[in-house]
């Protein structure tokens, strides 16, 4: 069993363009939860509904990165490919037919590197192996 972090082998593209200098990524997959309160129960029963798949990623901004920043602009959409540990056969891979950037914050400061954070939603999410 090999634990891992994002590294130089990581592949992270949106609409085939490399997401610039990512430092963290979060994927959130949650189902609607409908609760039954029938008097005959001891504990409430839960019936799951549709899922919502969303997430965020953060990264660092290059001083000449106007082209790369456009790859993750608000409204950009396309296929997601995430191979967090690279392309080695058997390693984990995430894909989505459509990922849509819903928001982006860029933070500049005199006491740290310039960074960005994007939020996104997915129409679907597949977890498989290379």
């Amino acid at each position: 069993m090999t634990k891992f972090r994002l590294n130089s082998s990581s592949v992270f593209t949106l609409a085939t363009n490399a997401v610039p200098c990512p430092t963290s990524i979060t994927l959130d997959d949650a189902a609607d939860d409908y609760v039954s309160n029938c008097a005959g129960l001891t504990n409430k029963a839960h019936i799951l509904g549709m899922r919502t798949v969303s997430g965020s990623f953060s990264g660092e901004v290059d001083s000449d990165a106007d082209t790369e920043l456009a790859y993750v602009a608000k409204g950009v959409s396309g296929a997601l490919l995430l191979q967090p540990n690279g392309t080695t056969g058997g390693d984990i891979k995430f894909t989505a037919l459509r990922m849509l950037i819903t928001g982006r914050d860029v933070a500049m400061t005199s006491t740290g590197l310039t960074t960005y954070t994007c939020t996104f939603v997915l129409d679907d999410l597949t977890r498989t192996s290379n």
Partner: protein, 132 residues
């Protein structure tokens, strides 16, 4: 009296499959509480309602973990077995006839291990002991 932590002896399965590389598990059991405020009371009276059982699991993601992460995908449901100190007779044996994963978040970082957090609900929860 022996205190314990999750360890290499821990047994933790959902629907017969081992929960991958768990680092923490939390159970939350709460009853609805209804207050009676009859004028004749000095203190409000409490009436317990239905229970609700929820919880969360955190763990680490393996580089080759596509199959094992599928064991805790959203919507996965089945019997829970948690023996936090293993299968020694009389040790804690926590079971549920139906546990459902309601959400799964995975976090990747260049400065830390890849981790996950799964939230779940249970139809029931029994705190028993491993039989002899």
């Amino acid at each position: 009296m022996t205190k314990f932590r999750l360890s290499a002896s821990t047994v933790f399965t959902l629907d017969g499959n081992a929960v991958p590389c768990a680092t923490s598990v939390t159970f939350n059991e709460v009853n609805d509480n209804f207050l009676s405020m009859c004028a004749g009371n000095t203190i409000k009276a409490n009436v317990a309602g239905l229970g609700n059982i929820t919880g969360s699991i955190s763990g680490e993601v393996d580089a080759a973990g596509a199959t094992t992460m599928g064991y805790i995908a959203v919507g996965t449901a089945g019997a829970l077995v948690l023996r936090p100190t293993g299968a020694t007779a009389a040790e804690l044996d926590i079971t549920s006839t139906n546990m459902q994963i309601t959400s799964l978040s995975e976090a990747f970082s260049s400065t830390g291990l890849t981790t996950y957090t799964a939230n779940f609900v249970c139809d029931d929860l029994t705190w028993g002991a491993v039989p002899a």
